[in-house]
């Protein structure tokens, strides 16, 4: 099973004819993902890799192929429109890989999708993968994943791969891995995915990778404390990052000292999470946690 995506996921790639879009669409297909359509306005009627039909609009793609998820590689000036187009076409799940969308555009996009039947992962995220279902929808290197029963959850792209790499090296497989994205405004946060992992019968435990800045890790800690029933180990990176570089006064005021790694780790520890001491210890900390709960020999 896993969360959000599985064998039944029919993926549409917006921006499939672009440099990144085409490379990663191919990689997803090679992994086993069921990519059923591409969309590039003006390129409708062509075929991608001789097997995936390209359409001018998401509406047409959905009508012809019953796509039920969209993966977006469209450049920043056009990505907000791409998200809204898939939402308008009734696509229930969108992963937007695009990095560099202006923040105020995402303010508006968030309002647009807010009460519509859609979940947005990202933007500025690596996407998500369900190794057991051979379903990779994003830019993560597929080969490092191993089917299994640990959920992985992160704000960062490459750091998610790091986490997965360490787990796989120890023979610990993943049920699903979700990179929620690093931008100030994203569609899905830690709490949303934690709730999905909690409800997923194929997930035994979770590894969560947080960062300095914002309050999402604290929100996750509060959720873990009151609503989360599974073992979880957590890392917060950025403890050695310089304090100087930030968004000016007002940004600092809103989050204040709660944005620091120390504060976040304290909250997560208090919530019962196993704390991962350094980024090199993701796999070993998870291993120990699983062993102590009898989930691993």
């Amino acid at each position: 099973m896993g969360v959000l995506v599985d064998e039944s996921t029919r993926v549409l790639v917006q921006g499939i004819t672009g440099r990144e879009g085409s490379f990663h669409a191919r990689a997803c297909m090679a992994y086993g993902t069921n990519i059923v359509a591409g969309v590039t306005p003006g390129r409708g009627g062509t075929m991608f890799e001789d097997k995936v039909p390209v359409f001018n609009s998401v509406e047409e793609a959905v009508a012809q192929t019953q796509a039920n998820m969209s993966l977006i590689f469209v450049p920043p000036p056009f990505a907000p429109d791409a998200i809204c187009e898939s939402t308008d076409a009734g696509i229930p799940l969108i992963a937007c890989i695009t990095e560099g969308i202006p923040v105020q555009d995402m303010v508006n996009v968030y309002r647009y999708i807010q009460n519509k039947p859609v979940r947005l992962i990202g933007p500025n995220c690596p996407g998500l993968i369900n190794p057991g279902a051979k379903c990779k929808i994003g830019i993560m290197p597929g080969a490092i994943h191993l089917p299994g029963r640990v959920g992985v959850l992160s704000r960062s792209g490459t750091l998610t791969y790091e986490a997965v790499g360490q787990l796989t090296a120890l023979g610990i497989g993943q049920s699903s891995c979700v990179g929620i994205g690093g931008d100030p405004i994203i569609g899905t946060n830690f709490v949303d995915v934690l709730a999905l992992f909690d409800a997923d019968p194929d997930t035994d435990a979770v590894v969560m990778i947080g960062e300095i800045g914002g309050t999402m890790e604290q929100d996750a800690a509060a959720f873990i404390k009151s609503n989360f029933s599974k073992p979880i180990s957590a890392l917060v990176v950025g403890s050695s990052a310089p304090a100087g570089k930030r968004m000016g006064h007002a940004g600092a005021i809103i989050t204040g000292e709660t944005a620091t790694a120390e504060y976040k780790l304290a909250a997560l520890k208090d919530a019962g999470a196993s704390i991962i001491p350094t980024p090199a210890d993701i796999g070993t900390t998870a291993q120990e946690m699983l062993r102590s709960r009898g989930l691993l020999k």
Binding site: V103, N108, E162, I185, E211, M216, A250, T278
Partner: protein
């Protein structure tokens, strides 16, 4: 992107936000003449991209044109060090010469994007003129936060509430409301990540004036703000950081000797954490980004190599949207073009990792390969510097 106070005030003026009369100068003689024009007295303000100028000699009240000339002499060409610049300070090339203000009351007003509310918020405080972070830490109840709905904008009832929270009386309420509304327009129209007035003052004759002005622009929005791009002043940026920014590379100069080339902000932070934990000191934070070409990776490596502090380089690439072969090509390109002999520790994983390692292995460079973060940090530590 940061812009100068005088530039922010230009924008404010276009939106009808009152600012003191002022003249931008770049020589002491001009400072003298400008002060004469202000009636013989002025405030001389160093134009740098950092706050805390007042405490650090960057703002001086002068009582005569001659005094202004001396102050300008002192500031121009110097590197002003404030609590926000770091020890290297920021170069002062321009001064803003402003008329004196008759201050009755100092307020704080700002707009930024709040991640929690997922939209703009306006912040106000009666403790204007203070270091607002200290206020936030010591008297958080003195800062009021108003979320703004992006469709409705700042609504009249919100403006009235903000004016109330600022403790303003009827005499200035309507002018203050106009400033708050204009400030919101500034924020939205220009894709700001921060707009701040500290202090916003009430004058003795009940005028509302922006005595200071700070605007940060969203770098990602620059494709639609060609006009604002021209406000950029690279003299205010660390030279390497500026170079990196031009290439869309996230780079922050640090104090150590380990040059770091990483893809992804999270992994870059993790790399700093692990390097630091292993007892080595990073020379920089560098996220080369996702959609990188060999040329972009090469430019990133050249930035690292051109930092005189760098004695060893740690590459940590987890191929995803950036493929390992492209990273490898870029690294080799940079070393070949610069002829650098600085030793490398390379840790590569993920997409096209085999191709990437082969390119580096075949290159003739001094490369130590590592498989894990721990190994990489240890390998860096073992390089003699």
């Amino acid at each position: 992107m940061n812009i100068h106070e005088f530039q922010a005030k230009e924008i404010f003026s276009r939106y009808g936000i009152p600012v003191p009369r002022g003249i931008v100068v770049s020589t002491p003689a001009e400072a003298k003449a400008a002060t004469k024009e202000m009636g013989g007295q002025s405030v001389v303000k160093a134009q740098i991209h950092a706050g805390g100028r007042g405490k650090s000699g960057g703002v001086q009240l002068t009582r005569s044109p001659e005094e202004a000339e001396v102050a300008a002499q002192r500031m121009l060409g110097s590197n002003l060090v404030t609590p926000q610049t770091g020890p290297e300070g920021a170069p002062v090339d321009k001064l803003l010469i402003e008329e004196l203000a008759d201050i009755k009351n100092e307020l704080y007003v700002a707009l930024t994007i709040d991640r929690g509310h997922r939209g703009p918020v306006m912040l106000v405080s009666t403790q204007g003129g203070m270091d607002i972070e200290e206020v936030a830490a010591n008297d958080p109840q003195d800062i009021y936060t108003e979320p703004v709905d992006p469709l409705m904008g700042l609504m009249p009832f919100q403006t009235r509430r903000l004016v109330r929270k600022l403790g303003l009386d009827q005499a200035v309420a309507s002018d203050a409301a106009k400033v708050l509304n204009a400030l919101y327009r500034v924020f939205v129209d220009n894709d700001c990540s921060l707009v701040e007035i500290n202090p916003l003052i009430i004058t003795g004759d009940d005028r509302v004036v922006a005595l200071d002005a700070k605007i940060n622009l969203d770098d990602d929005s620059m494709f639609r703000h060609a006009d604002l791009k021209e406000y950029r002043d690279i003299s205010q940026e660390n030279a390497l950081e500026a170079q990196a920014a031009d290439l869309n590379i996230a780079y922050v100069n640090l104090d150590g000797d380990v040059g770091c080339l990483v893809n992804g902000a999270g992994l870059a932070m993790a790399t700093l954490d692990v390097t630091t934990a292993a007892g080595a000191a990073p020379a920089n934070f560098l996220d080369v980004g996702g959609g990188a070409t060999p040329e972009k990776v090469s430019s990133a490596v050249k930035i690292i190599l051109s930092d005189p502090k760098v004695r060893r380089v740690l590459v940590n690439i987890f191929g995803g949207i950036l493929r390992c072969d492209i990273a490898g090509e870029g690294i080799v390109l940079a070393y070949n073009e610069t002829g650098s002999k600085i030793p490398l520790v390379v840790r590569m994983l993920g997409t096209n990792v085999v191709e990437g390692k082969k390119i580096l292995g075949d290159s003739g460079l001094s490369v130590v390969f590592a498989d894990t973060l721990t190994e990489a940090a240890e390998a860096i530590q073992q390089i003699k510097v």
